[in-house]
């Protein structure tokens, strides 16, 4: 599904990711971990195209390095950012409508409520007024509506209560069963091990250790 070859992310003279190569088959999950600033977020941003990269990013066998982020997204890559997950000035419903089909609004609402019942009754609230955990749920729901083949998740458990972490875990496992692939960055190594086949520990822009999931 995804393959990185000699992948690098550079901000000016600073190399956030020095040389990363790995492949992520369909139905598999890989975790990225490490302390703050080791390049977890840069890797995910580089794959979706939000930062400039060198090397090759192959998605379903095609090099997508030169594509705009929105084209990568429409080809089947879903990205959950670590910060600013939602559009604060739009309502919860509008956040979902941004990516959903116009004709299926009721269906989407029901699916989201099934997934996260606590969002029921909040659809007309501006997203900026939701709690951090609720915002994460909205972002995850918005991500899943599009049924992407590859999920890039940056600190998805941040702000989530333990019971919602469980819900997220179930959702991700269901996605893996549907042959989707997941690349997940998190500092919580135990959470990563529970979901991923392999966890790459990053240090100074390189993989310093590979942990079996």
């Amino acid at each position: 599904m995804l393959e990185l070859r000699d992948f690098q992310v550079r901000y000016g003279n600073f190399k956030a990711i020095k040389n990363l190569s790995f492949s992520l088959p369909s139905g598999d999950a890989v975790g990225l971990t490490g302390r703050n600033g080791v390049g977890k977020t840069s890797t995910l941003k580089g794959i979706i195209g939000l930062v400039e990269t060198e090397g090759e990013v192959l998605f379903r066998g095609e090099d997508i390095s030169d594509l705009e982020p929105h084209t990568r997204a429409t080809r089947g890559i879903g990205y959950l950012p670590q910060e600013r997950k939602v559009f604060g000035q739009l309502t919860l419903e509008e956040n979902l409508r941004l990516v959903g089909e116009d004709s299926g609004e009721d269906r989407i609402k029901n699916e989201v409520i099934d997934l996260f019942p606590c969002l029921k009754g909040l659809f007309n609230q501006k997203a900026v007024n939701l709690s951090g955990g609720e915002q994460t749920m909205v972002a995850i729901a918005r991500l899943l509506i599009r049924n992407p083949d590859l999920l890039l998740l940056d600190e998805p458990t941040e702000g989530l209560m333990p019971e919602l972490e469980e819900v997220l875990h179930r959702v991700l496992e269901e996605n893996l069963r549907q042959d989707r692939s997941i690349l997940i960055a998190d500092r919580n190594i135990n959470y990563l091990k529970a979901i991923s086949n392999e966890v790459y520990q990053l240090s100074e822009g390189l993989v310093s250790n590979v942990i079996e999931g």
């Binding site: 705009e68 929105h70 997204a73 990205y79 950012p81 559009f87 604060g88 739009l90 409508r97 941004l98």
Partner: protein, 288 residues
Amino acid sequence: MSKLAFGLLNGVVWGTVLALLSSGLNVVFGLMGTVNVAHGSLYMFGAYLAWICFSFLDSFWLSLIVSPLAVGLVGVSIGFLLKPVRKDPILTVLGTFGITILLQGSTLVLWGGTPRRVPLPFDSTFSLFGTGYSFYRIFVALVSGLVLYCLWFLVERTKFGLRLRASREDPELSSAIGIPVFNLFLLGFALGGALAGLSGALIAPLVSLTPEMGLRIFAIVFLIVIIGGLGKIWRSVVVAIYFAVFRGLASIFLDSTKGLILTFSLALLVVLVNPSILGRSSANANGS
């Protein structure tokens, strides 16, 4: 009494055109974050197209279609030209200021500095306090109001508007969830240009056309958008109508320049006394 009624009515009519023009700038500046200094010149260009349609094609009405379309295309071209610098506010101001000079200079070279006039497309009037008031002015207010309603619907009730608002708030996240931000940027420029072109065509029979008319009006429109709030279409409509009505009424008792100074001074005073009246951009107000 009749002077007051005329001043009020003229203010409302002029206010709706100003609102239309401000809304065009608000789409480009407020919703897309680009200061298009050339917006006033696009309005001037729309007005001259009305004069060309009348003078060479003998149809003013044609300009109500030609001006928005042609100026919308110029808007898209400006969007393309700004692509390499669109994230840099200083370079976009300089770039669009250059386009202003280009449009103004071209108009001067092609059609000279002599003020041009477009006759009223219909002469019928109705009686207001015993004096005739042109139906065309009422037509202008109605068309402007209708277009403003359509614009509100487009921005607040359609997926295009939703994506435009999302792109304004967070272009990076928008792009990452599959929204083609640059295409929206071009469409926003087309829309802003079309509104400027239509405003220019509508107002052409009511004013003298000169190459500088765009630069003069830009300062007023810019102030309206800032006071009304970036991205807040309806608030800028209210401020535009206040501005035009107050200026119209002030001009009854004072001359036009003093009326303008009084209007600006009052707006400044209101902002100084109550800064919260300044509409904040959605991005700034976000807090997320």
